[in-house]
């Protein structure tokens, strides 16, 4: 389907630029000359999907093999989706304009639990059978990957396989298997999936049967073949310096969320915040050298024309050679008028020098994430940041003329009391007071402190994976309590919808039985749950009722000895370590970072160069 055939439709929808493709540096191959066609789908809008670094990396690595043509697919926004269904316009890939049924693989990156329905909707409007069991040899293989693949059990009925961990090598191996089997004529779905399950890092859910206990918890996972692993070990890239990284990006015409060069500095995290899934599943830490990074940055700058470079990692100030890196980048970025931005700055690392060096900090507002309102609770979650750290950071900001500060918190954290909630208001008030006590502040303006409070979601592979989520009523009560505690009009208070966080927990810790609910949701064309304009909580409750599922089963406290839906996955970090960390949390004891001390999380068994845990 070309833009010409649907030009009248495009003239009637919002932001038609997101459907046209034809971007600079998109990769076009001759479809008759490739062996494997791979549709990389992002189950959200173009503007969000084009901002995803993982997709950009994998687009590059897949296409670096000449026999593979990887194309991009994004979800049409609701107005376009309605027109497409009205006029029988199929979902197509950006590069070739071909329908997804023509591809060997249709792969989804699963970044967030609330995109599951959008992914299923995309399969549905492509004309591919929704259930894995209904597909035959001529249908594409539906793959999933990304952070949610660490527990993608709710999607097990719909996806043929999941790629666990980093995909740069694994996906090309899956394509090679496909090519070989097609070449020697041995390809059929069943044999392909069986052989795929033997490649490290691939989980084929249909090859594992699950038995349940009478109380609905899981009794056991059993592989149906003897020659496939009982636990799927995640893949990592051992050496980040030699790993493929794009030398150019597909350049969007329309404005996207992160419209700049994203330079991945390292993978993993040394911190170990106990609520954070990313901090656990991306271990072990592996850094790139400043030489590699500078080379990649320069190359991307010349090939894209972007005037901003964002240094991407889970916590940029933990990069062991940050000074060296920024020094050598600044040697040319200032002359070329290229801005450097450092997102994910920790409060305890914020300094005057850094602030002067980094333009995003110089020009934009400042955001800090204390996460909890009292020291006790910050120790429970192992945030390792103190009130003094925060006061020091905001004073530096105020002295250089800043008058806006954003503070991120979570509510509903394990062991949290109303005093901890009130602590958020106290802390915000102290920031306001610090401004007026600071003689070097910008006296021409008042201060504005924004407090944003998310609801805690217990996630798989974290020390808090067993915790109950506060009931929605409790979360709302705590939100009200905080609202009552905030009396200063210089403080703006935002909070997340507890119902969204509830649904997130259900799918984050869900098992295969949720497939029934997702199938009903797909029938009702539920999608874009992460968007306020589409999220419909009451409809979800009706869906759970029709599917005879109690969603609260998934927000309860999980027993420490029960089989967890994600026990089938080995992410490197061991359960023993998570249990130890959980005990320390309840003892209000912090754990030092990997830089200070190896805490024996287990991720080092996966290998990897340039890490702290030698």
């Amino acid at each position: 389907m070309t833009h010409k055939q649907i030009s009248t439709v495009l003239k009637s929808v919002s932001k038609p630029g997101r459907y046209i493709g034809n971007e600079f540096k998109q990769i076009i191959k001759n479809k008759d000359e490739v062996d494997v066609r791979f549709a990389f789908c992002f189950p959200d809008t173009y503007e969000i999907g084009m901002s995803n670094l993982g997709l950009r990396i994998l687009y590059n690595t897949l296409n670096s093999d000449s026999y593979i043509w990887c194309e991009r697919v994004y979800a049409p926004w609701i107005d376009m989706d309605a027109k497409m269904r009205e006029h029988n316009i199929p979902l197509t890939a950006m590069e070739s304009g071909d329908e997804l049924t023509k591809f060997d693989f249709v792969a989804f990156t699963l970044q967030y639990e609330l995109c599951y329905t959008t992914a299923l909707h995309m399969i549905k409007i492509s004309g591919i059978p929704l259930l894995s069991a209904d597909r035959n040899d001529s249908d594409p293989i539906i793959l999933g990957g990304g952070p949610c693949a660490y527990n993608a059990e709710p999607l097990a009925d719909f996806f043929d396989a999941f790629s666990i961990g980093e995909g740069e090598e694994a996906l090309n191996e899956a394509c090679a298997l496909m090519r070989d089997m097609k070449r020697d004529g041995s390809y059929n779905r069943r044999d392909f999936l069986h052989r795929l399950a033997k490649i490290e890092g691939f989980y084929v859910p249909s090859l594992y049967t699950i038995e349940y206990n009478e109380d609905n918890t899981i009794r056991a996972y059993t592989p149906v073949h003897d020659d496939i692993p009982t636990k799927i070990k995640k893949r990592i890239i051992a050496d980040m310096d030699s790993a493929k990284f794009p030398d150019s990006f597909v350049m969007p015409y329309i404005e996207t969320v992160h419209d700049r060069i994203m330079l991945e500095v390292y993978r993993g995290c040394i911190r170990g915040c106990r609520f954070c899934q990313a901090g656990m599943v991306y271990r072990p830490i592996r850094e790139k050298s400043p030489e590699t990074l500078c080379r990649q940055a320069k190359c991307l700058y010349e090939n894209t024309g972007y005037d901003e470079i964002s240094l991407v990692s889970l916590s940029i100030s933990d990069y062991s050679r940050l000074d060296e890196l920024t020094e050598s980048l600044l040697e040319w970025t200032d002359d070329e008028k290229v801005n450097l931005s450092l997102p994910s700055l920790r409060i305890d690392s914020f300094s005057k020098e850094l602030m002067d060096r980094v333009s995003s900090v110089r020009t934009g507002g400042l955001t800090f994430a204390p996460e909890a309102g009292t020291q006790r609770l910050r120790d429970v979650i192992n945030k390792n940041v103190t009130e003094e750290d925060l006061m020091r950071a905001v004073n530096i900001a105020f002295e250089s003329g800043k008058t806006n500060v954003k503070l991120y918190f979570m509510e509903g954290l394990p062991t949290e009391t109303l005093d901890d909630v009130a602590g958020i208001a106290d802390l915000a008030k102290k920031v306001v007071n610090a401004f007026y006590k600071n003689p070097k502040r910008n006296k021409s303006r008042g201060v504005s402190v924004t407090v944003s409070v998310a609801c805690f979601v217990p996630k798989p592979f974290t020390p808090f994976q067993w915790e109950a989520q506060d009931s929605m009523e409790m979360l709302v009560e705590k939100q009200k309590h905080l609202r009552d505690c905030i009396t200063d009009r210089k403080i703006t208070y935002n909070w997340h919808d507890a119902r969204v966080s509830f649904l997130e927990t259900v799918f984050a810790r869900g098992d295969r039985r949720l497939g029934k609910a997702l199938l009903l949701a797909a029938d009702m064309d539920v999608m874009f749950d992460a968007w306020d304009e589409c999220f419909d909580f009451d409809r979800w409750m009706e869906i759970f009722e029709s599917a005879d599922i109690d969603p609260k089963f998934y927000t309860r406290a999980f027993a420490l000895d029960e089989v967890l839906p994600w026990d089938i996955i080995d992410c490197g970090v061991t359960k023993q370590y998570l249990l130890r960390e959980r005990e320390r949390a309840y003892a209000e004891k912090t754990t030092p970072s990997c830089k200070e001390n190896c805490n024996g999380c287990g991720a080092n068994k996966l290998g990897g160069k340039n890490r702290w845990c030698k």
Binding site: Q5, L10, N22, F24, H87, Y253, T304, G305
Partner: protein
């Protein structure tokens, strides 16, 4: 490859360079702001010696003549940029075209002797593929576009209000070409007196019900074909 920069000396005063380019096919769907962003990146990729504004947040200066709205194609868009070193215009054009997609390519690059504000008129071709297009429909279109008043509802900050756009239509003709109704017209397009050609479609839709059928079968295109001074001489 011919060098872009002909002298490394920094000019005392920045010079203006004019780029004429077409923008068609799928690129009709990107907005003016998207075009600005895209062109800024193209200029950086092409390594042109751009002049940057002074101050806290230095930016290159890009000025476009009479921006088109989303859904319109053009054979003659104009962009003025400022440079701080002498360049070879044809080398600039080659560098730009290597960095532009096939549907948007520069056709001329030169040091202009005029200001973009002297541009007064644009000519357009509007093709309407609608059900029941025939000679008599074309004739009715022709009559409608040549009879004052041509009243359309214009959106403005103070709300929607009916406006007679006929004084801004310099000339318009409608003919039948195959199964297509083709409108040739010249419309005001000075920056302070600009008529969006889309209004002619709106008017014909309302008066004649064109393009009210299946959008998979009916379509229209708007193509800007030329730009002119107030005396109708071709703008350069």
């Amino acid at each position: 490859m011919v060098q872009i920069i002909t002298s490394d000396e920094i000019l005392e005063q920045p010079k203006t360079l004019r780029i004429k380019f077409f923008k068609k096919g799928s690129l009709q769907f990107i907005s003016h702001l998207d075009l600005v962003r895209t062109m800024t990146r193209v200029l950086l990729r092409a390594r042109l010696p751009l002049w940057y504004s002074e101050g806290f947040n230095p930016r290159p200066r890009l000025i476009f003549a009479t921006p088109m709205s989303v859904g319109a194609e053009s054979e003659c868009e104009l962009l003025d940029i400022r440079i701080n070193k002498e360049v070879n215009p044809s080398a600039v054009m080659d560098a730009l075209n290597r960095n532009l997609p096939p549907e948007m390519q520069a056709t001329e690059v030169y040091y202009p002797e005029t200001k973009l504000s002297e541009l007064s008129f644009s000519s357009y071709i509007i093709n309407i593929n609608t059900e029941g297009a025939d000679a008599s429909m074309a004739e009715r279109c022709h009559t409608l576009l040549n009879t004052a008043p041509i009243t359309v509802v214009k959106r403005s900050k103070s709300g929607d209000k009916p406006v007679d756009i006929s004084p801004m239509v310099d000339c318009a003709s409608a003919t039948l070409d195959g199964g297509t109704i083709r409108i040739n017209c010249v419309l005001n397009s000075a920056s302070d007196n600009f008529l969006n050609p889309e209004y002619l479609i709106t008017y014909l839709k309302e008066k004649m019900g064109v393009l009210s059928g299946n959008p998979m079968e009916e379509s229209y295109e708007i193509i800007r074909t030329g730009v002119y001074f107030s005396n109708k001489r071709e703008f350069r």
